[in-house]
Symmetry: C2
Subunit: 337 residues, 2 copies
């Protein structure tokens, strides 16, 4: 499996994909890869070409199953293959095949070394993860139970495929079992997902990754302080830009139209701005006072500091307009589309 | 015409647009603006809303009439209005309205002050410009004739609307009259357009802008040196990525397929990579050795230094594969699509 200049870090069993392609009787395959897997584009493409398929690779960024560039591909391809994400209910004019990729997670010893530190948090723990590590959860559950914990793995709503799985826009696997647990452990990489669990459940959350197991409390407090800062800065805005992404699973146009009306009813100006990838340089030239992200919730929170103007989530806009005080995490709802 | 915090630098006569919208009997308008005009999005939108239109603003970058985001807009809008560019022959499922914007060009005195410096270049001069300044050409022509020059303004091919107008991918207004002139003057901003005239015609070219009137020779030599550097670096490539943009007027898919075959016939690997906006960070994750830009020619030349890997134009790829020595400027042909 060694190749010139790079080694395959993830295991790609392409046989299920080849079987599925044969069933679909397609010829032209569109290949969609998130950043970390783009390096395998030429390898996967070569394998598919050996089996007689024509391949077109997507060069766009790909952040999730929501992020499907089908508008560009339906003319060129008979199906889209997305690596690294679990399927989402998204309508599509060509078939979409999702090939999940399991990442290596060799950190159980770190949990064992630090098990005493979480014993003081309670007996009942909820486990959550992203799709790349969700198959680690039974192992973690088994160990925690051997240490005397009661372990709960929640089943999320229709947008989430696996028990315990959360998305950056859907924390239902956590919030549905929040009443039954003392605290949560998030198994996986990055801080945005456990942050979302912490804000949406108001429970204590531990992240468990290569750095060990550590509380998200301080990070949550820091982010909430930043968010109320953005809300405060947006208070004097007269002109709002409502940013909608054209990415199929993030295109919350119905929500944007509701918010537009709400802003106009409050006596202010609002325009809907439709774009593909949302980025600071695309907003730079406009003259709106504040922006509301009707796309991936993560943009409004994780990326907000890269923008000069206040960037709000739809929930934060309600605080600005109505003076509400409770903070709610932005999650994507099927009614948003 | 003064507005809070900004002054309208360009004259927007929206009446022709309002008349056209009325004729089309549309309700929902998509508004597309290049970077320098995005600041007027809220003003134009407000004016249209006063007349009962629904407006959605494009947040994508917009670099020309070729750069039409209709794939995102046809669901939401009945027509697209693009400011700042002249129309191009592009098929579209919804009507496209192009509103040209004349930029101020108060530099005639600079030409007069330096007229002697160009008199030694010859008697016969060709005039070219971009759409924003093309209406200055008769004035410049009249003055040059009063100074004893013979002035030629060429008519380009079907993709170019005005005599003397050039695009970043079409220098036919210059090359068609190249035999009849001693040198060219380019009236307008930026160095890429006059560079294209210099390379495609091999004639001496002067740029005429706020900095006065100056020869492009040194700049052309510098860029050609860089281009042959990129060609040299690409010589050992085994894997080529052929970058196609999904932007309607730049989507040179037919060309990419021809080049793919050509690369494969030479014993190398080639994949077509389809993306919306072409940018260095989108290429970064891939493992190809060199890339070929089957989109706007400008990306392969003006932006090439922002990329780590060699970025070639289709013409430059031919030098790599066939060992040709003559350098040709990349221009977009209707057969490329």
């Amino acid at each position: 499996m060694k190749r010139s200049g790079k080694e395959l870090k993830y295991q790609f069993d392409l046989n299920p994909l080849l079987k599925r392609l044969e069933e679909l009787k397609v010829k032209r395959v569109g290949l969609v890869l998130p950043e970390g897997l783009k390096i395998y584009a030429d390898y996967i493409s070569s394998e598919l070409k050996k089996h007689g398929y024509e391949v077109i690779v997507s060069g766009n960024f790909n952040y999730g199953a929501c992020d499907v560039p089908s508008f560009e591909f339906e003319e060129e391809c008979d199906c889209l293959v997305n690596f690294g994400h679990a399927s989402l209910p998204i309508e599509s004019s060509i078939p979409m095949i999702f090939i999940e990729v399991d990442f290596v997670f060799p950190y159980m010893e770190l949990l064992k070394d630090n098990i005493d530190s979480i014993k003081k948090e309670g007996k009942k723990v909820g486990l959550v993860s992203t799709v790349n590590y969700v198959r680690e959860l039974p192992k973690v559950k088994e160990y925690l139970e051997s240490e005397g914990f009661e372990v709960v793995i929640g089943k999320g709503d229709i947008r989430v495929k696996y028990p315990g799985q959360i998305l950056g826009c859907d924390f239902s696997s956590a919030s549905k079992v929040s009443d039954k647990v003392d605290f949560f452990i998030f198994v996986g990489e990055g801080r945005f997902h456990p942050l979302g669990v912490a804000i949406s459940t108001e429970k204590k959350v531990f992240a468990f990754d290569c750095d060990g197991i550590y509380s998200l409390n301080d990070y949550r407090d820091k982010i909430l302080k930043e968010r109320f800062g953005a809300i405060f800065r947006a208070k004097d805005s007269k002109k709002f830009g409502l940013i909608v992404s054209s990415k199929k699973g993030q295109k919350r146009m119905a929500l944007a139209k509701i918010l537009k009306r709400k802003i106009e009813d409050s006596g202010f100006i609002a325009d809907i701005i439709l774009m593909d990838e949302v980025s600071p340089d695309k907003i730079y030239g406009f003259d709106y006072d504040s922006y509301v992200i009707c796309a991936c919730p993560r943009i409004g929170i994780d990326d907000a500091k890269r923008y000069k103007k206040p960037l709000l989530t739809p929930k934060e806009l309600e605080i600005v307009l109505d003076g509400k005080e409770d903070y709610f995490m932005d999650e994507i709802d099927q009614n948003d589309f």
